[in-house]
């Protein structure tokens, strides 16, 4: 184990590209799984084979090389995000960790996600027309029919998609829940009642 101050002292950057140009930097000989960054003047590493878009790091035996796969023993900090062992954490005060896939990409876990709290977004709304839900809408829907029976249209869905709908109105107006083909899903939701809907791969069902 090395002290953080010592680690930072010898941590330098080699920013390597295919164009070359001489530069020098320091890594600690014999240190295992060391990675160096070089920020300022140089752009070529002498005495090592170059590689596109690589980082200079040492392997498990302390031998430096330019690698596209980097193993680091210790912490890896980028701005306010820290990778340390099995933990990814934010280091700024009350900092969120945002996972923001691009385009049609999603956030996927192939394993169980454990959490002390799981609070999906919610939508509180007084309706004046049909409420058409889309796949990216809030999972919790607190809907007031507002003077007339209203239709809640569920989206053409992916398996496992879940919506929780509550009729928050104080009158006798109901929420008629339909699927994407306008077929009724379960009984209408009367005031004060909560109902859950999950897509089972073929149709929406109450859960």
């Amino acid at each position: 184990m090395i002290a953080a101050s010592e680690f930072l002292k010898w941590l330098e950057v080699f920013n390597v590209n295919s164009g070359g140009g001489a530069a020098s930097g320091v890594v600690s000989p014999g240190t295992i799984n060391e990675m160096a960054f070089y920020a300022a003047s140089g752009d070529t590493v002498s005495g090592l084979a170059t590689a596109n878009n690589g980082l200079l790091s040492t392997n498990g035996s302390g031998v430096p090389a330019i690698n596209n796969t980097v193993d680091l023993v210790g912490q890896f900090n980028v701005d306010n995000l820290r990778f340390d062992g099995n933990t990814i954490s934010s280091t700024d005060t009350n900092g969120d960790i945002n996972l923001t896939p691009n385009g049609t990409g999603g956030t996927v876990s192939t394993k169980t996600i454990a959490s002390k709290r799981f609070i999906p977004d919610s939508n509180v709304q007084s309706l004046s027309a049909t409420k058409t839900l889309v796949a990216t809408d809030e999972q919790y829907q607190f809907l007031a029919p507002n003077g007339a029976d209203r239709t809640v249209a569920l989206p053409a869905a992916a398996t496992g998609m879940l919506f929780i709908v509550k009729n928050t109105g104080g009158s006798g107006n109901v929420l008629n829940v339909q699927d994407a083909s306008a077929a009724a899903v379960g009984n209408p939701i009367s005031n004060g009642i909560v109902a859950g809907y999950m897509y089972n791969g073929t149709a929406w069902e109450s859960v």
Binding site: G172, N187, P188, I189, S190, N191, I193, A195, S206, V207
Partner: protein, 245 residues
């Protein structure tokens, strides 16, 4: 135990059509003035509300609880009842029916038949407290036109000793009825074809008024499966503090 998001009565409605669901603990479904209930709104979503326009015949809310939850009290002036559409039951000549009711009588032995839920005498479908013995009974049908004797089933369970969950089923195709109280006192018989009319909560068609409380009524227009019957017994038993076998 992990509970569903959707209340059990609505989940069961995926299997068998639910035509009525009223519950005293949902304050937003009770329309009242000075504690007198003019409407008990149906939670089935089909608006088969229980209604009583005559002030002197309106039951009370906010005065009695079971398991800490509000119930509707039908003791005032011995004339309280709430009318519900006959269509919640329909014809039982060929069709089937399942009714759940949670209630408790305030008298050990009423001087006359006292119906928690029922239709008029000529087309009887009663769930009631028996005269003198005070037990929970059901009666279905009349001899007129059917050729079958009325079906009367006695659970032997007191309607006043403790809150109860009673289930009555009737299968029109076989003329078979069952009364099940707390999933422990079960009696079955045949007979009693009927098409109930003038259906009310708290009386039998505005006669034979109950002296007691009704906490919840659920009606399905069909025979609820055995597994879902058990789910409903457990749901109602846990909700209203009734021990279910």
């Amino acid at each position: 135990m992990l509970k569903p998001f959707t209340p059990v009565p609505l989940l069961v409605a995926q299997e068998t059509t639910m035509s009525l669901w009223v519950s005293g603990d949902n304050a937003s479904t009770i329309v009242s003035s000075a504690g007198n209930v003019s409407a008990w709104r149906d939670q089935s979503g089909f608006k088969n509300n229980g209604t009583q326009a005559t002030g002197s015949k309106q039951p009370d809310t906010g005065s009695t609880t079971i398991a800490g939850k509000n119930v509707i009290d039908f003791t005032r002036l011995n004339s309280d009842s709430l009318s519900v559409p006959d269509s919640i039951i329909g014809s039982l000549v060929n069709d089937s029916l399942t009714v759940f009711i949670v209630g408790q009588s305030s008298v050990a032995s009423p001087p006359a038949l006292a119906a928690f839920f029922g239709s008029s005498t000529s087309t009887r479908f009663y769930i009631y407290q028996q005269v003198t013995t005070g037990t929970i009974r059901t009666a279905l049908g009349s001899t007129a036109g059917s050729g079958l004797p009325p079906l009367v089933l006695d659970s032997g369970v007191s309607a006043s000793a403790a809150p109860f969950v009673a289930m009555v089923t009737y299968v029109g195709s076989t003329d078979t009825g069952t009364l099940n109280v707390n999933n422990s006192a079960i009696v079955t018989g045949t007979g009693g074809v009927s098409t109930p009319a003038d259906v009310t909560i708290g009386s039998a068609g505005n006669a034979s008024f109950v002296q007691g409380s009704v906490a919840e009524v659920i009606v399905y227009q069909g025979l609820v499966s055995a597994s879902n019957q058990l789910s409903l017994f457990r749901y109602l038993g846990e909700k209203w503090g009734v021990t279910i076998s």
